[in-house]
Amino acid sequence: MQACFHRHALLRLTVLAGLVAGALMPCGTGSLRAEERRTNDSADELRFFEQKIRPLLVEHCYECHSEEAGEQQGGLLLDRRSGWIEGGDTSKAVVPGEPDTSLLITAIRYDNDDLQMPPEQRLDDEAIALFEQWVRRGAHGPADDMGETEFSRLGDQDYLFDQAENHWAFQPVRPVEIPSPGAIDTEHERWGENAIDCFVLDALSSAQLTPSPPADATTLTRRLYCDLTGLPPTFEQVTAFQEATEVDPDGATPRLIDQLIESPEFGQHLGRLWLDVVRYADTDNNYRPDTRTPHYHPFAFSYRDYVVRSLNNDKPYDQFLKEQIAADLMGFAGDAPEMAALGFYASGPYSSRAQNEALDDWIDVTTRGLMGITVACARCHDHKFEPVPTADYYSLRGVFAAVARVNPLDETKQPVLTSYQPTPSQSADFAKKRSAIEAKINGAAGKKAKNNNRPIAQKIRETELAELLTFHPGAPERAMVVAERKQPPESFVFVRGDAAARGEAVPRRFLKILDPQQHAFPETNSGRLQLADKIASPDNPLTARVFVNRVWGYLIGSHLVDTPSDFGLQGAPPTHPRLLDWLADDFIRHDWSVKHLVRRIVMSQTYQQSSRTRETAAVVDPENRWLWRANRKHLTIEVIRDSMLLVAGRLDRRIGGHPERLWGDDYTRRRAIYGFINRFNLDPTLRAFDFPAPVQTQPARGESIVAQQALFLMNSPLVIDQAAAIASADALTRIEGDEAKVEFLFRTILGREPVAAEVSRTLKLVEFQQRFQKPDRPQTRFIVSPWPLVAQALLMSNEFQYVD
């Protein structure tokens, strides 16, 4: 924070040092041989630089063009000779001997309207003349030239490629030897059974830490249910598991894990992880100002259902990726369910109708989302920190520019899928409503809106019809597809990202760092199939590692690589590099099976250990980097919402179909993954609970703790409703006695028996409220029964929102 104060002070010091050095330079001794005369000449030049030029540079240029200031705007450094000789993004800044062709001189003369330096004010003529003289004399550099430094190498792709050669994430995924567990004490004997645990234990031992004991059966049941299905277990399920572990301590846990992984809720929960990565939503990120409605994506839900189905069917991850990138080129029938996978691209934000931004999103979701490499940073120049030349960006842009987008409302180009089947009565109702709207559209034929001259029929299609197609359960499901353009356009580098400034032509091909041979994709089409093959390949060092890390983070609550969408040179290094590699290799060997990967992780003692803190370990590793305990996880807003509906006995578990409203008077009782996601105006409740804005691919969710979340729990109709439903359920009203009712509520909502202190404290609220129940009290608008308030108090508790 103090750097800004020190900067000028530092600069002055540097200058002084330079001046002193310059002044001392010529005081050498010896005879005047030719060699030394040259030295002497150059000493004159150095003196000229240090005395005349450097002070001007310091005063006018170094704030933006020096290492001391930490700035090299336009890629230009003026604190060393190599800086002005090699120049910045634009080109060489100085051509020694030729002031008139030197950009630096052009800039300071203010000859060119677009290039005027320093920007604040033109230098005086005397200063400009000095610079001209300096260039004419050969633009000699400082006495103590810094040459190449880390700083000046920013954006130097040769250097970055050298660095990348040894970077962990770019090394092939190879089998890793499992460390021998060494001496395991009796407390942790099971830690030698699972490869994951051997790696974790090895790292723990190096940090002089030990693992925690296993979580108790109650805790483990809740953890497994929440992590694998996104729904907490019922009291009965907890009890059943406890009993099962007593009967069969070794078999009960694997059985429960298999049962949960095979349940349809598995895909509904894990699918949400993927939907964050692919910035899923049901609308575009823009709206129609005249009708004040979003641009609907009525068929986006087919993609969401494809994701859930693929996870539930354990579709191999490589196949899953290939279909999303190129299903239309893989030989599937035009109406095959796999065509829905193309929603990966088609359902993305089309931004402000600007092709460049839409293509940027596709490049970003493909590279950062699937491979953890930040290619989108290379749009305007070679990447400053990663081995990604700008040509890479435009190679991929060439791929996607050859893809035709389909208007999301154009039903003729989006095939009907049979994977969703409305009931006959739903279909009939839809047909009726549709024909009413069609009649309205026909009636409006030829009419135009007064304010902006848009056809009224068009407006009705975009609003009423689009809404019907989006929400009506009888509306058919269609695949949101993309298509190939007839003639793939040639791709050019846009200099500084400016579409008007075409640079070299670049063929469609894969990233240079991952395909050094730079094989061009076929000229006849977009090359998406080749791109898919390159990404979903066991030889791609990033794809498996990135996905394994995402799943690990979802289940463990912290990532092995803390920057899940950035595995590049600037990304965080893995805490357990060998474990990450082992998991990636194991994942690929097991046919990219996501269920296998999940099972591997949750079967580990690492996953199953207690989340309780231990003082000694917490001192050594407060962040639990080395996994000496399980992480306590906050449930997502989706899981909180679904859990409330579940414990209220009102959760609708149906799978798939059209989006429905999450809040408001007509809120759906279906799982939150089926909620309508409005990209252009994200729901405030979702936002308050860290649901990521679906405008770009999201690395991971954070956990914020803000008052709006508590207000939601205290005052939102959804929570109040569920509390009321629990309180009015027969199961509760049938129970005699307040104490028994309290016990029932703890079992139903928190899945456990209350302890005596909790019962007596709860009874205080019951008593407080019962005073309003006396028959002689006048009628008011206030709730008199204590039970909805008690039920809500439990729903609001931290215990309900966290999983140990």
Binding site: G702, L711, A793
Partner: protein
């Protein structure tokens, strides 16, 4: 008390990467926040801040500069004359083809204050504060349309999703209030064009985004889930006590987890916010003379809410004139701008007066302006009684008041036909750099690391306009 906390994941994008970069640059890491810090805890800026808060009066739609604060006598003289083709070329392509004849301002200008600032008859009350206003007449936009203009003005980029100025301030300064959100957007009648993208936190954590409040609503509907009315306050307190009893037990059995404590605190905060929020928006607490000063109108209430929020520690308050883009006077500009100015003149003047008499003006930066200005030509409209002006981004006017800016001055100028900036061009990055400066930030050092690089509100641009600041 600090009720907010986050896991390290929350700010992970500022963690290892930026430390690596910082060491590369031989600088201390100063991305604004350490990864372990809570995202809303109060922070010191780079240097002592000149102001505590910003009130941004957003005349969304784009108010006409030559009808308000940038008098153009030559334009008036040439009123009705065709625009020479050579000059027409200066217009943005979208406006060029539909530009009609020159259109002088039908409004009279007078000089006000000791400084003699020229202000049109549309703003007689605001004009009385002439000696406090710093009028910038040389704003330069990028794309002559509303969404790009709004996004540029609010978030520093005309097209890409970037965090808004308010989000940057919350990220850099934290929240002063523990009862109210730190970034509040007041907009009557729905959302402005570009909607929530105007106050997005984009890739920053969601806690930094603005809280939008539709000030057309009144009383308790004004904040989502702020209160419920089917439970006695006493019953709700007793209910919360039970929840907190359970939470305390739960936390006691799980020592070392700050989040659990934070949630307990936050629940208390939320309980207080029920009344604090209700209180902030309860104008009946204001004495009659204050309500009269502002006027009992939508705009009057909007400005009064702004002052009440400012008093309660809200950092960044944005007041839009209304939903959509009300100042977008393509047609019937004389009638429309007269109405719009009449709606806002008294309330804005009242806000300045009120802040001043409470000693708050000096610590508050008040900004007035839109996302662009309007053309000096008529937009071709068939009916001559309904003429309007088109979008114009080359030299439009905004003004600032209070907080360390020099009052009674103008900065920058446009040519005599108001076609383009002739001196001291101010770009949005310059403007943002200046605002950040007043809040204690070097705009080049307020960075947030995301997707492999350090982002700034001003990207690689921006210079502080020193001339308009009190030294």
């Amino acid at each position: 008390m600090n009720p907010f906390v986050s896991r390290r994941q929350l700010l992970q994008s500022t963690s290892l990467g930026s430390i690596a970069l910082a060491s590369l640059l031989h600088e201390p890491a100063e991305a604004g926040r350490a990864p372990e810090e809570s995202p809303l805890s109060q922070q010191s800026p780079h240097f002592p801040a000149r102001v505590k808060r910003v009130i941004h009066l957003f005349m969304n739609g784009g108010p006409s500069q030559m009808d308000t604060f940038d008098r153009k006598p030559e334009l008036n003289r040439l009123d009705g004359k065709p625009l020479p083709d050579s000059v027409k070329k200066q217009l943005q392509p979208t406006q060029r083809n539909r530009a009609g004849n020159l259109f002088g301002s039908p409004f009279q200008f007078k000089r006000y204050g000791e400084c003699g600032l020229e202000v049109s008859e549309l703003f007689p009350n605001v004009a009385r504060h002439a000696d406090d206003l710093c009028v910038i007449r040389s704003m330069q936009g990028e794309i002559a349309n509303h969404t790009p203009g709004l996004l540029l003005t609010n978030c520093g980029h005309a097209t890409l999703p970037r965090p808004s100025l308010g989000s940057w301030l919350l990220y850099g300064l934290g929240n002063e209030s523990d009862e109210l959100p730190g970034f509040v957007v007041l907009c009557p009648r729905g959302l402005p064009t570009a909607q929530s993208r105007n106050w997005t936190s984009a890739f920053m954590p969601g806690v930094y985004q603005g809280t939008h409040i539709d000030t057309e609503n009144t009383g308790k509907q004004i904040v989502a889930n702020l209160t419920r009315d089917d439970v006695r306050p006493g019953s709700q307190r007793a209910q919360l006590a039970l929840t907190q009893f359970l939470n305390q037990r739960h936390a006691a059995q799980r020592p070392g987890d700050e989040r659990l404590e934070s949630r307990i605190h936050t629940m208390e905060l939320a309980f207080r916010m029920q009344s604090a929020g209700t209180d902030a928006f309860d104008l009946s607490q204001e004495p009659a003379h204050i309500r009269e000063l502002y006027g009992e109108t939508t705009q009057g209430r909007n400005m009064l809410y702004a002052r009440r929020l400012a008093e309660r520690g809200v950092r960044y308050i944005q007041c839009y004139h209304g939903g959509g883009q009300p100042w977008d006077n393509h047609g019937s500009i004389v009638r429309n701008i007269t109405r719009l100015a009449k709606e806002s003149d008294q309330p804005i003047a009242a806000l300045l007066t009120d802040l001043k008499q409470r000693g708050m003006l000096d610590e508050t930066l008040v900004i007035w302006g839109g996302e662009m200005g309007r053309t000096p030509t008529v937009q071709q409209v068939k009916d001559p009684t309904k003429v309007g002006r088109d979008h114009h981004i080359d030299g439009y006017t905004v003004w600032m008041a209070g907080g360390g800016v020099r009052g009674g001055m103008t900065y920058g100028a446009t040519d005599e036909l108001a076609m383009a900036v002739t001196e001291n061009k101010v770009t949005m990055p310059d403007f943002h750099a200046t605002v950040l400066h007043q809040l204690g930030f070097n705009h080049k050092r307020l960075t947030y690391r995301y997707s492999g690089r350090d982002f700034r509100l001003t990207d690689v641009h921006g210079r502080v306009i020193d001339t308009i600041l009190n030294s």
